[in-house]
Amino acid sequence: MELFLQSVVNSFIQGGFFSLWAVGLVLVFGVMGVVNFAHGELVMVGAYSIWVLHAQYGLPYIPALCMAVLLVTTIGVLMERFLFRPKREDPLGGLINSLGVLFILQVAAHVVGGTGPAKQVAPPFSGTFVIEEFLRVPYQRLFAVAVSVAALGLLWFFLTRTRLGWSLRAMAQDREAAALQGININRTSMIAIGVSGALAGLAGALMAPMTSIHPHMGHNVIITAFIVTIVGGIGSLSGAVLAAVLYAFLHTFVTAYISGTVATMSGLLIMVLVLIVKPTGIMGKRVSE
């Protein structure tokens, strides 16, 4: 029972992170048609920024978090401008370029952090919120969930209530038609990857105090983001969030009761099942012929 309740709470926290990871990937794929394999590394850079700025140089957590978001957004924007834009007609080329970035960022992390054991960052918000003697949620985690939800809410507002958000969604639906209607593809792509980078940086910065930071932590992120993206329906943001929460429950519970390996394995198999049975995902729209 204790394990069960604790797992429920953990699932919601995980769900927040999974959403942040996946929504950025979905946005870039939807709007630009690029599979950004370096997305996990963007999260990793966000976490490293916190380790360097906050843990090493003593910058307070919140400003460090803002810097992390800014840095990762910039990396994203540079990727779009110099790597994805020239390869817009060649989706394979964009994908390969993102693999190149993946290697470069991993090595950059090695250079910055040195080899040796994974890094830990002490939680800036100490203390634990005690619901019951057996059910405790550290404040750091509450903060992370609150910020994740706020960020996703803000994104939702941006996409549905602003003109820019509207052009993003139009482009995700049909790039050519959007271009014909006078939507500036370059600018819209830039915004998409900017938002994607900001979310990745934010996720990394929020995770930093609760996880071990190492150059290969992006691997787990990208696998999870793929599973969530496919299950939720490629191009569907609400689908991604729903799938993220569902998958977080599955992953947390299977990890708690069986093993982490089996948890990831079952996620992958569910993803394959969705690809076979309903390639548009649980929330995806029907694509007309």
Binding site: I104, V107, L275, P279
Partner: protein, 317 residues
């Protein structure tokens, strides 16, 4: 056309002769290197057969693992002769590919790429999870080497000749497949699948066929690797390794049979040269990869043609 073919034949012959003479004159460490390089050549060439159909999979290296585990388990646990377990490794990788083709080839393009990645990763995690029979994350150790008369295949030089013979035979077969009717049909499936279907080509069947053949040969490559290394772990077949295969194929150029071979050889030698900078080697790969995609989309194999063209233009003037 004729001259071009002659260059290819001459080049291939020279390379083979060099490979036969070379190993005796190398240091131990370099003998290792050349064995793995030769195996990797088979990995990239078999992968290219798959890409002919226009589908880029991320499961190829996992199929290599299927071959490796099969041969390791057969020879170590069941006492099957290594001479038999190596071809059986190919057969089992082909059989697994045939089974996987049912779910995988319901997808195409991006979905296939991601689907193949997911299935591959799930298989790899199964090797991690099931300690019996796969040995978990530490894998299987003390895998026997082949035995023949008094030749010691634990030594790099005899093993190298074995690998060279097997890989050469496999490349000959793959080359023949590509230049046969089947190769032409695979090309056709790639470029305009509806057009190919409209003249009676069962595109699904040919995609599956390419996947199975590619898996058989990469399965053999996996077995060759495992009986030299003596151990096999799930880590050897991770997506990181797959990315290197992609890089070799793309930087070398996937439009010709020779491109991926060139890519594997040139990049592996570069990689050796950068051994001193162990930590930053992946970044060098990353930069090379991006440079190749941005400035040399047809790969290294286009470089000789480019020079030839300039040379001819010069002489024509």
């Amino acid at each position: 056309m004729g001259a071009n073919k002659l260059t290819h034949v001459a080049g291939t012959a020279a390379l083979l002769i060099a490979l036969v003479i070379l190993p005796g004159h190398l240091k131990y460490h370099h003998q290792d290197f050349i064995i793995f390089l030769t195996i990797n050549v088979l990995v990239v060439v078999s992968y290219r057969l798959m890409t002919l159909t226009g589908e880029w999979s991320l499961i190829h290296i996992v199929m290599m693992g299927v071959g490796a585990y099969t041969s390791a388990l057969l020879s170590k646990n069941l006492g099957v002769s290594v001479w038999l377990s190596i071809p059986l490794a190919g057969v089992s990788a082909g059989a697994v590919a045939a089974l996987l083709s049912f779910p995988l080839f319901r997808m195409t393009q991006f979905y296939f790429l991601i689907g193949s990645f997911a299935v591959g990763e799930a298989i790899r995690l199964a090797w991690v999870y099931f300690v019996y029979p796969f040995g978990g994350s530490s894998g299987i150790n003390t895998i026997p080497s082949p035995e023949l008369f008094t030749i010691d295949f634990m030594e790099p030089i005899p093993y190298f000749y074995l690998v060279l013979a097997v890989v050469t035979l496999c490349l000959l077969i793959l080359h023949r497949i590509e230049n046969s009717r089947i190769g032409l049909t695979l090309h056709a499936v790639h470029w305009k699948s509806p057009l190919a279907e409209s003249v009676g080509v069962n595109a699904w069947k040919y995609r599956t066929l390419a996947f199975i053949i590619a898996s058989i040969f990469v399965g053999v490559a996996g077995a060759l690797k495992v009986h030299y290394l003596g151990n096999v772990t799930p880590h050897q077949f991770g997506v990181g390794t797959m990315v290197f295969v992609l890089i070799w194929v793309i930087v070398g150029g996937y439009n010709t049979f020779y491109g991926p071979i060139l890519g594997a050889i040139v990049l592996s030698i570069l990689d050796e040269a950068f051994r001193a900078f162990e930590a930053i080697r992946p970044a060098i790969y990353g930069v090379l990869l991006i440079a190749a995609i941005m400035f040399m989309p047809r790969g290294l194999e286009s470089v000789p043609g480019w020079f030839r063209e300039r040379l001819f233009r010069k002489t024509a003037e």
